[in-house]
Structures are given as C-alpha cells and as structure tokens.
Symmetry: C2
Subunit: 221 residues, 2 copies
C-alpha cells in the first residue's frame, strides 16, 4: 500500500469529492492510498483502525472457513465502503479483502474521528443505504446459489461478465465466486460447448447461441 501525496493526492480528492458524505470537515482524517493488484486491504483477524472508500478498482471479499476452504463472498467494486461494519461494532476483521486490480481508496483513520462519524446523520444515512443495498445483493446471490444448479447461474454470470460476445474470466476465480469446485465449473463449460451454446477459442469462450444462454439465465431472473 502506498500513500499518495501532492499532485496525485490532490487529483483524486478533486475528482472524487466525498465532502457531502459528512457534515463536518473530513479532510484532516483523509488519505489517498493506492493498492497494487493482489494486495490485501484487510487481513482476516487483524485489528481495524481504518475505514476505506474505494474510488477506483475492484476487489474480492473473502472468508476462510475452519476446514481451510475459502469462500469468495462477493466482488467489491468502486464506489464502495470497506471496513464500515468494523467501525460500527468493535472487533477484528472477520473478512479479508484482496484487490483484483490496482485500486485507489480514500482512507479514513477512525481513531481520530470515530465519535464524529457515529453521530453524523449524513454519513450514517449513506452507510445505511449502502449496507441495505449490499445486503439485498448478497442475499439474492446466496439464495440463488442454493436453489439453482450451476448451469443456470453460470449462464447468468456469462451474460454479465462477457465482453463483445466473449467470456474470458479466470476459472479459478469464478468457481470460488459461484461456490463450486473447479472441476465442476469445467464440466458445465464443456457441456455448454457440447450443446453449441459456447465455442472455445483462443480469445476465450465465444457465445454462439445467445438465446439459449439467455433462456438458461432467465430461469433465475
């Protein structure tokens, strides 16, 4: 992690003003940080003293289970808060956050202004809305995981993440996200090829039979 200073710092603060999230002057507590790809923003089990607001980039929210298995809970995309739950409740981070790409965050050192934050209606309302939406999203994802086979969920995910008719995500990431084994993900991809829904090319999996894919995805809504 690298603290940005001077012109870079000024640039980001200017481009992403968050003054209106707060009813007091937040600038004394603010830093601009840059995380490299793959860097951990929060480590599971560590003690929190910072809240972040991600303004550019993408990250993954993880939890590690006792048996060593890891669940990719969610992708986190700018703009969003991180560490807000830990600010509200005491305690360690129970989740890890790792960047997927270079990421720029505004950091708020909470030891300086925790009380101010927790009594600021403007800020709290922002957090409330954010938490509410996140909860809705996470709940939807998990109930779907439970009720639909991978065939449908993968179809929906391919629709979402494909670019110019090509699906080219990393299998290792996606199987974690969809909560299935690597092996099984490959099985279902192979099955899609078998059924001529996709075709494997050097550029990724090409979507051939878009209608059928949509049909499979739609069963979820």
């Amino acid at each position: 992690m690298q603290l940005l200073t001077d012109s870079k710092r000024a640039h980001y603060l200017e481009q992403y003003p968050i003054d209106d999230f707060f009813s007091f002057d937040i600038h004394p507590y603010l830093e601009v940080c840059q995380f490299e790809k793959g860097e951990w923003i929060f480590q599971e089990g560590s003690y929190p003293d910072t809240m972040y607001y991600m303004i550019e980039g993408k990250a993954k929210l993880y939890v590690t289970h006792k048996n060593g298995k890891v669940s990719l809970i969610d992708y986190i995309e700018a703009p969003c808060f991180m560490g807000e739950i830990e600010l509200l409740n005491e305690g360690r981070y129970t989740k890890g956050i790792q960047t997927v790409s270079k990421t720029i965050c505004l950091s708020i050192a909470t030891n300086g202004c925790k009380e101010k934050l927790l009594t600021d209606a403007k800020f709290l309302r922002k957090i409330c809305v954010f938490l509410g939406q996140k909860q809705t999203a996470v709940t939807a994802k998990y109930t779907q995981n439970q009720v639909y086979p991978l065939e449908n969920r993968l179809a929906a995910f391919i629709q979402l993440s494909s670019d110019q008719g090509y699906y080219k995500e990393k299998h290792t990431e996606i199987c974690e996200y969809l909560g299935v084994s690597y092996r099984h993900l490959l099985y279902v991809l192979a099955q899609f090829c078998e059924e001529d829904i996709l075709a494997k090319t050097k550029k990724g999996y090409q979507i051939i039979h878009e209608k059928r894919l949509a049909q499979l995805a739609q069963e979820i809504q």
Copy 2:
C-alpha cells in the same frame, strides 16, 4: 393484524421503551400491533408504508424464486427491525415476512416522519449496527451452506435449537432453513440415529452422543 389499544398498548410501550432510538418524539407515529401465528407481516411485492420493530415473537424471512421455489432466508427474532431497508431505498418489498408465533410489534407509519427518521443520527446509527450484524450473520450462514455438508450444519443446528437434550423442530421448516430437501434432512437424521448420535423418541430426537455431535458441529465453528 390487530392494533392494540388502551391498557395493552400502554403496557407494551412501557415494557419496551424505544424513545432512546430517536432524538425526537416518536410517539405520535407509533402503534402497537399484534400478529397471529402464521400471519404475513410483509407480502412480497406489496408497497411499504410502515416500518416495524418487533418486540416479542419470531418470524421467518422469505424470498420466492422465479421457479416457484422458496428460500427461507432467515429467522427473525425480537428485538429487531423490519422494513428498514425499504425505508432507506424506495421500492416494493422484495421479501416476505411471516410470523412463526404470536408476535408483538411497534409500528412506525413512515409517511408521517420519513424525513425526520432519515436525518436522525441516533436512529440511523441503530439501523447501521443492526444491518451490519444481520449482514454478518446472513453471510456466515450462507457461506457455510456452501462449504459444509448437511451433516455438519445440522449437527450445529441441533446443538443450537435443542432443549433439555431433545431436538424437536419441525422438519418442514428446518429443511427450508438449511436449504436442503425434506427428504435429505430425514436421511441425515436417520443416519444420526443409525450412528447412535440421536435416538428417536416420542418427545423428539434425544441427543445421546453429545460429544460426537459437537465434533461434527465444530467442523464449522
């Protein structure tokens, strides 16, 4: 649903004071309602105009999927808010809430005081903490569902819900909660009996081999 009046109303308002959730006088907007067992507090798709704070009772939070399957997202137990997300964001209820037992709620007609609520730091902070904790709980449950077989999850659930060494929940409810079919729940219960972890009696399933049960449950933590 029944509005309570006079002495009953006064009784509950006195027993569960929520004045300190707000920095303004909430009483003009407050009612005390009673829902019978099995009644729906929110219907999926309906338009919200009320937020509730459940003070006695227990309910189930549901979502219905496109394919007709229903997920029991969570048990909701007093004390807790209901409809808070809909207060924050516009839109219909996307979840249904059905009581499990007779339930007493304080209702807050939001059309009268929405603005006041959404600018009240005291209230917003309560909601934030509540949402944060709920999110943590829901996430934990669902990631576990994904990673552990029913054997472990059921063991943990039996530990939680058993009373005086007896497990006697309704299978029809629990299979929904644990996200498995009725058939499979019965299989695993039978397996527990087979292994002399439980014994089926008229009073419910008796826990015989507590250590082994704990062992199975602990794999989750």
